[in-house]
Amino acid sequence: MIGALTGLGGGVVIVPLLTLAFGVDIRYAIGASLVSVIATSSGAAAAYLKEGFSNMRVGMFLEIATTIGAITGAYLAASTPTRAIAIIFGVVLLYSAYSANKPPKDLLTDEPPDRFATLLKFDGSYPTDSGEKSYRVRHVPAGFGLMYVAGVLSGLLGIGSGAVKVLAMDQAMRIPFKVSTTTSNFMIGVTAAASAGIYLHRGYIDPGIAMPVMLGVLAGALIGARILPGAKVRTLRLVFSVVIAALAFQMIYKGVKGSF
C-alpha cells in the first residue's frame, strides 16, 4: 500500500519487512516478493494502459535485456551468500530512496535520431496539454545495457528494479517521464516472471509466505489507488524514503555482521 502511494515498487519493502521484522529466511522473502511484484504490475496494467502512453516496442525490445538479466540474477542468487545479497539489497534500497526524491525531469532532445532507434521504430508521441508531443529515443545500447543490470538486480533481489529502469529510460534513452513510467510497469511484471520461474523450481516460493504477502499487497494497492488522489505525495515520498533508508542501513549492518 505504501508502495502504491509513493510510486515505488512494493517489493523494496517486503524483503526487509519479512527478514528484519519476522525473521523469515531471505530466500523465502525474495520468492514472496517476486510474486507480489508481478501482482502489482499486472494489476496496475489496466489502469496504465487506458492512458495509452506506453511504448510497446521500446518495452518489448528492452525486455530481451531484462529477462536475460533476470534469469542470470536468479541463477546468481543460488551461489551468492545470503549476507552478500542482504548488503547488495541495502545499497539498492539506498539508491531507490535517493532517486524517488529527485523530481522527474524530461530530458527531451532535438538531436538527430539514433541509428538503432530508427531501425527499431522507437520514436513515438504522447498526449500533453498542448497537444500531441513527439519524442526521440537516444542511446539505445546504453539503455539496453542498463536494462540488463536492472534484470540482474530484479532476479537477485526479488524487486522490480523500477529505479534502474527509470534511469535507463529517462536518463540514458531520453524517453519522456510519462511514457517511461507506464512502459516500465509493464516490463517489471515480465522481468519478475522470468526469475519467478527459476525461483519456483528451486523451491524458494513458499505458499504459506507468498499467500498473505500477495493478498496483502493487492489489497494495499487497491486502497492506495483510492486515496492516492487526495494524498500529499511529496511528503509521503519523503517519509517513505527515510523508512527505506533506515531499512537499508539495517540490512547492510546485519549483512556485514553476518546474521543472515
Partner: protein, 126 residues
Amino acid sequence: MAQSQAWGDKRFEVMMGRLLRFGVIFAAVWVLAGGIHYLTQSSGARPDYKVFQGEPGGLRHPLEIIRGAIELDARGLIQLGLLLLIATPVARVAFSVIGFALEKDWMYVGVTLIVLALLVYSLSSS
C-alpha cells in the same frame, strides 16, 4: 496509416490490460480460497521459515503443482494460484505476438518471440 496503426495498438493494449486484471483477480481469489483451506486444515506445527529448507518437489514443477491441486492439497492449491499469477505477464507477451502479427510487424513478432522463449525457458527449466 500511422494514425490507424496507433489506434489499433491502443485498443489492443486496453484489451490486454483487462485480460491481465482478470488474470490477477482470478489468481488472487484462487490463492485466497486455497489460503482459507490451508488455515482451516493445518492446526499443527507451522513450518519454521527462519531456516531455509526449500519446497518439496511437488511444489516446484508446474505439472506436479497441478497434480497436488487436483488432490485438493491446500499448499498445492495456493501454489497453483501463484503459478497462475506468474503466468499473467507470460500471457501478455504471448498476446503481443498476435498483436504485432496483426500489424504485420514481423521484426517485433521476432523480438516478442525471443522474450516469450526466455520466459518459457525459465518456467520449464529445472
